[in-house]
């Protein structure tokens, strides 16, 4: 617990984290993960979660009454920064468990639900999200998975897609349609679904980068007890906004910080090895321009984190602007890496030890940034309409 003890002295807090990371993170973890199976990867993620749990860094941002440490955003930033600096593993498969689930239950869950579900997270219980459907992507509110009341249960039938880590999940944050006649935002109800319940079938989706991080969920007569409804019937859309808004930029922040260290390591290595691209003025100019834009993005991410501590945060379109900037920059950087890697860069490899050691994997993976979590096209609509006041016609 020495780390949390240091929380009132941010520099000391950072150092404590740094020491802990130096001690606990296996130096060869990336090498081991390079060709790890999904199962090995998940086992590793659970181990990592357990380690964080030991020092109180599993759910440090949660309020004390729910087992958290009630740390401020400033502390989360410090943690994320130290994790990035140490190139420590991310807790990617726990994103929904750590952020979206509590972000939904804290404001909208019943006491019973909170007591029942929150403590499991630190123990490694895994949550997924059942929002998107094959025909309801950008237009989420058109979702059609039906929930029909049957005594004290609801019976669910339908199909979900793009559900991250759902193949390992214990619970699901589920959006369903309970009133097909109401205006589309008004007939949606929000449930907690047991992923082990009968009728839940999970089919992994194979991605263009060779991995399978998402699944499709096929739901056939799945029974959910009414006590697992979050909020009131047909009030799910409003609650879903809390879920979607709960990721306050910390993940993007950590991503940007990791990229900073990645690029720095790449550049240092290029200098040491006298890489050919350094002798090409044009490529060198491109590279420094990336750095300028990267620094701008990192500053914007800090701005948005501060904004989130102000009241009217949800009105800001800055997160959309940041997404447009950093995801496209990431794509351009990875594309640059593919170009300079030449034919060697075309060798199939997933994760890599070296930063940008598998440029094509990074390049193809970069589309998850420009497409997932609201495509950049949707972000442009948001910026133009909400931010610039251009009319929706």
């Amino acid at each position: 617990m020495t780390i949390l003890d240091a929380q009132h002295d941010l520099p000391a807090f950072r150092l404590a984290i740094r020491d802990w990371l130096a001690e606990v993170v296996p130096p060869d973890w990336k090498a081991r993960m390079v060709r790890a199976s999904n199962e090995e990867y998940v086992a590793f993620q659970r181990w990592w979660m357990a380690e964080r749990s030991k020092v109180g860094l599993a759910i440090p941002h949660w309020p004390k009454e729910y087992g958290g440490a009630g740390l401020t955003l400033r502390h989360l930033v410090a943690i994320a920064d130290e994790m990035a600096r140490a190139d420590a593993p991310q807790a990617r498969i726990f994103t929904i468990s750590l952020i979206h689930m509590p972000g939904t239950l804290f404001p909208h869950g019943t006491e019973e639900q909170k007591r029942r579900y929150l403590p499991g997270v630190a123990k490694g219980e895994l949550w997924c999200q059942g929002f998107s459907e094959p025909n309801s992507g950008s237009d989420l509110a058109s979702l059609r998975t039906r929930a029909v009341r049957d005594g004290d249960h609801y019976v669910i039938n339908g199909q979900k897609i793009w559900s991250s880590s759902s193949m390992y999940a214990d619970h699901c944050l589920l959006l369903t349609r309970t009133d097909a006649n109401a205006q589309k935002h008004r007939g949606i109800t929000y449930f907690i679904m047991d992923m082990h319940a009968p009728g839940v079938e999970v089919r992994p989706i194979r991605q263009a980068n060779g991995r399978s991080e998402f699944s499709e969920l096929f739901l056939t007569d799945v029974r959910i007890h009414a006590e697992n409804m979050i909020g009131a019937e047909n009030n799910g859309w409003r609650i879903a906004q809390a879920t979607l808004g709960s990721e306050r930029g910390v993940i993007a922040f950590e991503g940007a910080e990791r990229q900073r260290y990645e690029i720095e390591a790449f550049y240092r290595k290029s200098l040491e090895t006298g890489a050919a691209w350094l002798r090409d003025t044009q490529l060198h100019r491109e590279f420094v321009s990336f750095l300028a834009e990267m620094q701008a993005g990192r500053r914007l991410l800090r701005r948005v984190l501060e904004e989130h501590e102000k009241p009217d945060a949800s009105a800001s379109v800055l997160p959309s602007i940041i997404k447009l900037s950093v995801t496209v920059l990431r794509q351009r950087i990875c594309s640059f890496m593919v170009r300079i890697a030449g034919v060697e860069g075309q060798e199939f490899a997933m994760l890599a030890e070296e930063p940008f050691g598998s440029p094509m994997f990074d390049f193809v993976s970069a589309f998850s940034g420009t497409i997932a979590g609201g495509t950049n096209e949707i972000q442009r609509n948001i910026v133009a309409e909400r931010g610039l006041g251009m009319p929706r016609v």
């Binding site: 998107s132 025909n135 992507g137 950008s138 237009d139 058109s142 897609i161 793009w162 989706i205 194979r206 991605q207 263009a208 060779g210 090409d280 044009q282 490529l283 794509q331 594309s335 593919v338 170009r339 890697a341 030449g342 034919v343 060697e344 860069g345 075309q346 060798e347 199939f348 490899a349 094509m360 390049f363 193809v364 589309f367 998850s368 420009t370 497409i371 997932a372 495509t375 950049n376 096209e377 442009r380």
Partner: protein, 370 residues
């Protein structure tokens, strides 16, 4: 002989070329369908072999080979059509390496060499490997033979490799040689590492300079044409998808922002096609400025294809990021094309040098008509 092949090609009128294209397209659309290619990259069929034998039986492999060596002598124009259609269907197989090696042999092989290899290529009996980036590595003489390791474009069962030896070019048979296929992001083509130890060359090509030029030109034009086909095809498939995909109660093809991007893609396609056509035109007529346009065609067309395929993944939205849809296949193909032969930056530098050289002689490098 190249000239002969070219004359033949020159004499082909547009109608003949169009008929040729339609014939090839009909076969490939049927054989190398989206489903077939997906099955192939998942190791569920041997589409590459089936296509290869079909290509042979239809004479495709002899397009660039003069009649007396068992080819059809359709020259650069015919080859471009073939590579474009192959790219359009993301067809698997060692076409670029084999047909480019053939062009080099046509250009500077002795009659004996031509008689030995060209008919076997035209008949589909064998395929060839060539360095993925010629000039990057060369073989060295060792005792009675040649040795060295080469990263090549070509099938793991290629019969021979056309490789640089000092300032000469040699044909080395690969029976018994150590060949390792590199696992590729683009599963529709193969890159292999060939390790030779005291291998005895089957033939030496006269005029190494002419050989390099012929090989590089052929590879550049083939890669550029393949990229044009791939870019056009993925755009067509993407627009077709956008017409069926509905969000917010309408096909997403109706959203103006996406329409404008599609229009820009269509413009890029038209321009890249003409860049390549111009290069082929100048190369076929053996104009002194041909090199400039061949290098630029490869650089511009392969980068345009990367831009187009990238945008098509994005225009698909979520499914564009999945293995089961087509865009990633074309994206990966475009990215391999981009890095073949030599970096596009180097190609542009060569084009710039060529432009300066020709301009200094007082001639123009910007004529269109021969």
């Amino acid at each position: 002989m190249a000239t002969k092949a070219i004359e033949t090609a020159g004499s082909l009128d547009q109608a003949t070329l169009d008929a040729l294209r339609e014939g090839i397209a009909a076969v490939l659309v049927e054989q190398s369908s989206s489903a077939a290619v997906h099955a192939f990259i998942d190791g569920e069929n041997s589409l590459d072999r089936e296509l290869w034998s079909q290509a042979a039986s239809l004479g495709w492999l002899g397009f660039g080979i003069p009649e007396q060596y068992g080819g059809l002598g359709l020259g650069a124009h015919g080859l471009a059509i073939l590579h474009t259609e192959i790219g359009r269907q993301a067809a698997p197989g060692p076409y670029i390496s084999t047909l480019s090696a053939a062009q080099a042999i046509v250009e500077s092989g002795t009659d004996a060499t031509r008689n030995t290899w060209l008919p076997r290529i035209a008949s589909g009996e064998i395929s060839a490997a060539v360095p993925a980036t010629p000039g990057a590595t060369v073989l060295t003489r060792s005792g009675t033979g040649v040795s060295g390791t080469l990263r090549c474009l070509g099938a793991r069962d290629a019969a021979f490799v056309l490789a640089p030896l000092g300032d000469a070019w040699v044909i080395v048979e690969l029976a018994g040689a150590e060949v390792n296929a590199m696992p590729m992001w683009d599963r529709t083509r193969e890159v292999i590492d060939i390790r030779l130890q005291n291998a005895r060359p089957a033939a030496v090509l006269e005029d190494p300079e002419a050989t390099s030029v012929a090989l590089l030109r052929a590879m550049a034009l083939a890669t550029a044409a393949d990229s044009c086909g791939a870019a056009r095809s993925v755009t067509e498939r993407t627009i077709a998808y956008m017409k069926t995909r509905e969000q917010f109660g309408q096909p997403i093809a109706g959203f103006q922002a996406l329409k404008h991007r599609a229009a820009d893609l269509a413009t890029k396609l038209a321009v890249m096609d003409e860049m390549v056509a111009h290069a082929i035109h100048r190369a076929a007529a053996d104009e002194p400025d041909a090199e400039i346009w061949v290098w630029l065609a490869k650089a511009e067309a392969t980068e345009a294809a990367v831009f187009v395929t990238t945008d098509c993944v994005q225009l698909h939205g979520g499914v564009g990021f999945t293995w089961d849809f087509d865009p990633h296949i074309f994206l990966k193909r475009a990215r391999l094309n981009e890095v073949l032969i030599m970096p596009n930056t180097a190609l542009r530098d060569r084009a710039a040098a060529g432009l300066a050289a020709i301009t200094r002689t007082g001639r123009s490098a910007l004529e269109l008509e021969p």
